[in-house]
Symmetry: C2
Subunit: 748 residues, 2 copies
């Protein structure tokens, strides 16, 4: 224990406790300056994390009670085959629907952005000649704010969980933390959408829509649902970036601790179907049916041909850019962290949130307009220009304002133009100014009460300074021609910046490779992401981890802290434990469940050896949710005796109640009934995993994490219950700068 | 139990028991007709599975005894950081060396193949005019047989484990089965090489070379070694196909059951370094230093440009081709299965094996020559022909024999030319005949006593009939031009055939995508592999699984058979168990270890409650290997008392003995010493995982598989040992056509 140097309180909880009742947006969303597709669709639905409901853990270990075993034993081989086939069907459906949603979003955003930019463009053109461009600025700012207001109102007032990119929430869900309403009907960025679709489809019903199709009832438990949510998240990534393999790796990296070949294969299937669906419908929309050339929502264009291959001596440069990305990423994260703390303290009322979002939108428009206005970087308009809305402004005829291609455009298009435009399209000053302003705007934006991610803004910042690096290299070296392609450096810069912010590794490499359609850049991208992660981790954690920490959820990492062999189950466990007898008085159960001071979710079941004075021994484990269903159906020993024909409780009854079991307060138990007895034998998990008290923390951790447990019973050598280890007991320990630290989590 | 319909004996054991002493090559290698790189390098070293030494299990669960915990607790945070860094260094080294080996192999094979084909070509050209081509045939056959003889002699007489592709062996190793000498110095196909390099480097010593560098001693245990072997296998795949992501997925699909983000990232690092090293040195060899354009040994050429994108209506065609691949793959596997059985029965003497290999080589040359001789498919020699050794034979000047491009070439080149040659390069008859003959030759070849895989031959067969399909489609449809590119169908055919034979899924898709450098073919390849797997699985298992089964090793699949909820730990476990007391007589321990009839590897340690009549309770688990080290160092209670200064046994002593602990017979224990006592407290794992008797088989299986256990103690509710579950107990149950079947494994 000597290693535990201090107790640190997780920074946010203490401050926001007063405001918790109002639904403080602990994890806020972000808006991308200039209204990327996500922002513009923020009105299109939602959910959000509130601090009101304490998060629960999920149970990724099957509850093997007698009912479950009976059902499994009754099932024939064909039954299992059918189940397997329905899993595939569900995954196919998830992929299809996710692709469809992506397609819908793409088209709507395309249209909205088109209208907005067209209106502003015409207005600017009108007033460039006659003077009075301040009216154009006003129009732009008002248009921006109005769209954002719509999105922010929905998020802030109705579904706060739709804020942000949804990635931290999905990470938590796959880790085993139930964030209320995280997978209910909503729409946000694609990853989250995919997960929501998955949760809906796989359960064969929707609580939000109050429909139950009576199908897929077998899948109504945490284990199965998690698998489908993994598939959904993968399908989402796949649709967003046209990166099916990247999607699978994302799901695995963030979620599944136990890797299963068939599951992975199904996840891959969902991802593929999702890309394919998107591709297919977009090809119809673009009047080229069957051409399948739109792999993802975000298309970086293809890097092809030998002209862009890199050379060995460029690798140190790439690594240096990775380090820059790590530094800038760390700066971004620190700034955003302070901003988030500030928001938690002062900007927690919905109306304030909406106002902040509108302010950001207006400021973004103003800054963009100012930058464009004062820029004198004019470029000739090529015959096959990629700029959708070229602004002439004060440039000569046949030329356009280069700053406007970066600011007056959807971010995806800006990234694409930074990657692929001819050398000389941008001058260095434009890129430098753009990077600087956009960096702070993006940082301010992430955490707003709108539904938007950090991926595209990061890529855009990185592409801008990356391209700048490329141009500078070409300028300072004697033989500039060997650095012919600044687009290559834009790609590396984009990877470095994104890696420095989110700190994803394998999956991000693959996503970047798939999104650019070029395998040869795999090694440089990997090296860059690795460098960015190492450099960034030296200063501060990744953005998603920061936001997860601010939520103070008991997130379990991959391994126990390295120096935690000092600790054993004895020190880690919660003790004493509330145990129930195998045949227990209803009153005791009701009182135990109603005890708000403990609010436990799992109870070891013990049995006394008849005619002996020994303390009772462990014989099973039962969950709060199961007890509630038992109480609701009044499964009492006395009643069973009197009503012989009473229908036996089945697994179906538990499934129907899943996942929103009623609270104990809603169940009425009369004074007579309180004297009845309940026999838990059939319903408890008779073979819970146990560990002895001397088990070291890493060993407990490994068991817990590998099997996705929720409760682990600690027993002595006589098989008597001495404690219970839950997720919060394990998540407390944390490797800080001064060795092992013990954190105080909410309600430990 | 009603579901267990019959007991089946694994087909091979019974038959070969008589020959086991001779080292029957249960798992034989293959040769690719026409001496691909692997075959030609078969002389370049080896290892092999012998039936003599029974395979053991590996222990992927840390042995947490007091020594281990003390060491971990003494280690500072910096110590763990250093360990982490050395893991990265080791992975980098593994990648580097694997890449180097791949490079070396590539150059040597290139040279050898060059010489061979040049000599034969000149000879053929000489005799085409004057007649007497039979001499050329003879020359070719003799050259082939000579090279194969060299390889086969080394494999058959010295290192039989080098036979085959090495994939089944690595699969087993990662699954947790120790196949003697599987990771000792040898060379075979790249995957195996990578694994061997990893095992050598990570241990900081080589038993084969008898050198101990006294570094990386911490890594001398099964868990760490497995992680490095995973990295090595990935690096091997990566070098072979230029597919770093595919390599990682291969390792994960076949190996790691517990997915760890950092580990995966390290594996990816090794893969990347390996591709990069290969690429770098090959670019120097090809006089284009720094150009990095040779991603892998096997290069399919890049599919690029819009001309080769597929269309929606082609997807059903692709799926149909997948089904054909599944059928042909199943046929291939069935034929090879019969052949392997035949070999196990009749071709088990090394000299017979060498003769068979030579026969195959000679027949291959003869058949190839005959095909070329009678072919009248002449094609004009283009200006930038990809054929390295164009044979004119009886064609007009400026033309070459098309059959010869398929037969008279290294298989990689043949595949490449099938993928990329202009439409019209092959006529359908040539392709049809080639497919037919090559199919049977390849089938005969896999399982020979040479070191070669099935990947390239499968791809070649598939590419041939795939291209044939493409040509036929162009012929029968009115507007042939839309099927312009038969190369696309060759790719799909190759994927279908390979998928039908090996039944790999996700990793194979990614490998194919990376090797072709084109992301857009991801979906068709996935659909094709899926169809091939579904169709093939209907008839027979994958080739690797067939060979693993023929070895009768206790291979654990991902999940317990679906219908095994009937079984509980009570039925599955081995019982009664040989237990040791915590303080045990040396004589008892020696007798227990010497008992050849049981030959257990793990023993529960029990302790009697003092002054009570109750049966003893479980207090730990100790391994045979640990006991042997203890006996060797004479760690007896009496000696410790007399020699107070005696050095305390440390973890180092166990590590030095790892992994080849001496047999019990080699340890001399005098009659006096037999009366001494040994105190196991410090050395046993005091917190072994346990399960109650009622635990269902799937639950036991999940625990066992997820944590990579070797022994799982079954206890009753008083914590008394009632049984022990080992890998073999779990691997016995198998889902057959008639429900759950119980297999008889060797020495269950």
């Amino acid at each position: 224990m000597a290693n535990i140097t201090k107790k640190v309180s997780w920074s946010s909880r203490a401050d926001e406790s007063g405001a918790a009742g109002e639904g403080t947006p602990l994890l806020n969303g972000s808006e991308q300056p200039r209204h990327s597709r996500q922002v513009q669709l923020a009105w299109w639905l939602t959910v959000r994390l509130t601090a009101v409901t304490p998060e629960e853990s999920l149970d990724y270990d099957n509850i093997e009670n007698q009912l479950f075993l009976e059902e499994e034993r009754k099932m024939s081989y064909m039954g299992f085959r059918c189940l397997e086939i329905s899993r595939w069907v569900v995954c196919g459906l998830i992929g299809f629907l996710t692709g469809l949603i992506a397609c819908f979003i793409d088209i709507v955003v395309e249209q909205l952005a088109g209208i907005k930019y067209q209106v502003v463009k015409e207005n600017i053109e009108k007033f460039t000649e006659v003077g009075g461009l301040s009216i154009s600025l006003l129009l732009w700012a008002v248009l921006n704010s109005a769209i954002v207001m719509l999105g922010a109102i929905i998020v802030a007032f109705f579904e706060p969980i739709a804020a942000g990119s949804g990635i931290p929430q999905i990470k938590c869900y796959l880790n085993g933390i139930k964030i209320p309403r995280v997978v209910r009907l909503k729409e946000g960025p694609m990853i989250h959408s995919g997960a929501v679709v998955a949760a809906g489809v796989s359960q064969g019903r929707s609580t939000s829509l109050k429909r139950d199709f009576k199908i897929f009832e077998y899948f109504r438990r945490d284990t199965e649902k998690r698998d489908f949510v993994s598939a959904g998240a993968a399908a989402g990534v796949s649709a967003a970036f046209g990166a099916p393999v990247g999607g699978v790796l994302f799901s695995l990296e963030e979620g599944a601790s136990f890797w299963n070949q068939m599951l992975t294969w199904r996840i891959f299937f969902a991802s593929m179907i999702s890309t394919f669906t998107l591709n297919f419908f977009l090809s119809i929309y673009h009047n080229k049916p069957g051409e399948l050339s739109n792999p993802g929502l975000i298309n970086f264009g293809r890097f092809q041909g030998d002209s862009v291959a890199y050379n060995l001596y460029e690798i140190p440069l790439f690594i240096a850019m990775g380090a820059i990305g790590g530094l800038l990423g760390a700066l971004f994260n620190v700034l955003n962290y302070w901003l988030t703390i500030f928001r938690i303290r002062y900007v927690h009322r919905p109306c304030l949130q909406v106002m902040e979002a509108m302010l950001v939108a207006a400021v973004t428009a103003t800054v963009s307009f100012t930058m464009i206005y004062f820029s004198n970087d004019c470029q000739p308009l090529g015959p096959e220009h990629t700029e959708e809305y070229p602004l002439q402004l004060f440039c000569a005829d046949g030329e356009y304002n280069s700053m406007a291609t970066a600011f007056f455009n959807t971010p995806e298009r800006s990234v694409r133009s930074l990657f692929h435009n001819q050398p000389g399209t941008y001058n260095p000053l434009t890129l430098g100014l753009f990077t600087l302003t956009y960096f702070f705007l993006a940082c301010w934006t992430y955490g707003l009460a709108v539904s938007a991610g950090v991926f595209i803004p990061s890529l855009l910042i990185g592409a801008a300074w990356g391209r700048l690096c490329g141009i500078l290299l070409a300028t300072i070296t004697p033989d500039g021609s060997i650095w012919a392609d600044p687009g290559k450096y834009a790609l590396i810069g984009a990877a470095a910046q994104l890696g420095g912010i989110v700190r994803m590794t394998l999956s991000l490499t693959v996503i970047m490779v798939e999104a650019t359609g070029n395998v040869t850049y795999g090694l440089p991208i990997m090296l860059v992401l690795m460098t960015a992660k190492i450099v960034g981790d030296y200063f501060v954690e990744g953005l998603y981890d920061i936001h997860i920490k601010l939520q103070s959820v008991p997130f379990l990492h991959w391994e126990a802290p390295a120096t935690s062999h000092w600790l054993t189950a004895r020190e880690v466990m919660s003790s004493p434990v509330t145990c129930l007898n195998r045949i227990e008085k209803v009153g005791t159960i009701v009182d135990t469940l109603s005890n708000t001071s403990t609010n436990h979710n799992g109870f070891p079941v013990v049995v006394k050896v008849s005619g002996s004075d020994e303390p009772p021994k462990l014989c099973g484990l039962i969950l709060r949710s199961q007890l509630i269903v038992l109480l609701k159906h009044k499964v009492f020993v006395e009643l069973a005796r009197s009503r012989l024909t009473q229908r036996k409780l089945q697994l179906k009854d538990f499934r129907d109640a899943y996942p929103r079991f009623p609270p104990i307060q809603s169940i009425h138990v009369s004074q007579d009934e309180r004297e009845c007895m309940m026999d838990l034998t059939e319903f408890m998990n008779a073979t819970p995993y146990t560990v002895p008290q001397e088990t070291s923390l890493p060993r407990v951790f490994k068991l817990f994490r590998a099997l996705g447990l929720r409760h682990l019973v600690v027993v002595d050598d006589e098989n008597r219950v001495v404690g219970l280890v839950t997720r919060k007991d394990l998540a407390r320990y944390h490797l800080g700068k001064h060795g092992l630290e013990e954190l105080q989590l909410a309600q430990t």
